[in-house]
Amino acid sequence: GDSGSGSGDGGGSDNLAITFLPKNLGNPYFDTSSSGAKEAIDEFKGTFAEVGPAEATPDAQVSYINTLTQQGVGAIAVSANDPEAICDALNEARDAGVKVVTFDSDTNPDCRDLFINQADAEGIAKVQVDLIADQIGGSGEIAILSASANATNQNAWIDLMETYLASDYPDITLVETVYGDDDDQTSFDKTAALLQTHPDLKGIISPTTVGIAAAARYLSTSEYKGKVALTGLGTPNQLREYVEDGTITAFALWNPADLGYLTAYAAKALIEGDITGAEGDTFDAGKLGEYTVGADGVVLLGDPFEFNADNIADFDF
């Protein structure tokens, strides 16, 4: 990495054009985060835009970052498909005066100004392992259905889950991790394969919204419904049906709309020069209140939230 870090010049600007660049378009999770971002940007009268590739690859993201640099937007809010591959493009953008905020999936810390972390990795890993352990009674075989094999955040969580399992639940064995590529059909077929490969499987964790929905749909019509537990990260709208029919007991997630909302306010603070991304900076995030920048330029949204049959009716996203 080169001169990435020194772009906090302190001076503010009024270019409140903030463009969101999710991993890919057509992903309901990012649709929700973008709706939150739009709400925030409308509040402070900036310009919201969303661009992105159809498939979640880093090289396609680079082209969009380059274009945004040429257009001279105020800030880019990006969920990285690869921690390193888009770094240089982001640094060039920053050299051209564009602020860079990552959200949901981070890059290396030296190629962005801020990272808005939806929940810290330990918390996410812990809540899912606790949920599955509770549902299968603390022992047996489980498997993980992840997104793509290269997804930074998923891999970090899976590592932590393994550590946490080993230390706190020695009776649970993680028999396999499979990858559904955040593709509905692949995740669906992978679930089917998992269940057959491991006849004694008692539970599946799917730390991705696409994966858990596909797995739930498979389970709900199969003989394993009710026998194999499923939990992970999902959105209430996608999973409401399966919580109601008993396929899923409980799952977790933060509110992606809040994530987008907070990201937009952080970008605004950067553009206006209120903060530089240094540890200890504080900024105002509208209805969410005030936030403080932590170490490495990370802002933490909060703890993940647990959804179950009792509370799911209260949410709509």
Binding site: G26, A54, Q185, D189, A192, E223
Partner: protein, 349 residues
Amino acid sequence: MTAPAPSPAPVAPVIEKTAVTKRLQAVGAAREFGILLALVIVVIAATVANPNFLFSSDGWRDLLLTPSILVLVAIGQAIVLITRNVDLSVGSILGLSAYLTGRLFIDIPGIPILAVFVAAIVFGGLLGLVNGALVAYAKVPAMVITLGTLYAYRGINVLWTGSDRVNASDLPKDFLALGTGQVLWIPILTIIAIVVLVVIGWIMKNTRGGREFYAIGSDPAAAELYGLRVTRRLLIAFVSSGALAGLAGVLYTARYGTVNSQAGAGWELDAVGAAVIGGVAITGGVGSVWGAAIGGVLLLTINRALPILGIPDFWQRAVVGVLIIGAIVLDRVLAVRQKRKLIAAREDD
């Protein structure tokens, strides 16, 4: 030299089938039998490794259900390949039809399921017609045209769908039941695929039109000289491929319940791969839809069997690649042997 009588009385067959011809016909059948055998071996191996692969109700259902949709697309692809063309746009057509299916259910509440089927099939057929018309009238290689429409149709799909998607909860329960339902332990989707396969297989083998596909693929220039209606046949081939992709789109929606703008992306290579593994020659004129269908089943079944046989997820694509290459090398070896025998037969005639 006397002139033979103008119309000789019907005579008993005088020309015996040569041994070579008999053997050739046996080899032709053996080609499909060979893949079937490979399929059986894979299933047995996976079942031995894990009895659930076959002997659980889900295992049995998935064995039949998973390949059913690809089989439909592969049948269409086989028709096109037999005419010495290729249809790379099937994945995009499938995606568009799948989304259309979802939209119809959402926008026209209470629409009869049959009407949706018809609409998607007609829609797929129309997209195929565009391909066919460009190939047949503009005389441009199908590879280029369908590569273009692969992009264009997918683009239209993304434009139309945006970041929207069809969710299982938007679809009628009856319709979703088609995707998982069974009649006498056989999934409905599989029954549909088999019916289509039997009908098209019969047409390709036993009707004039069917044989013309083979003639055109065997030598397009000769077909033109001969006075076959090449243009019309090509249109029919592409429309069939499109319509089958359309039908596959409906079934995709029924099975997976969720449709976004990327549904069916990359299926073109699976479809071509299935047909090629099944003995349909990319150079036209050879193969059968039966082979393509079995090829499709083999491809997806291997995909599911690998993890059970202990081969990690990541190596699946590599195995599929080896499989495709193995299949075409095998075909080639058989063809060379056949040719040598034919020439030898001419010698001892």
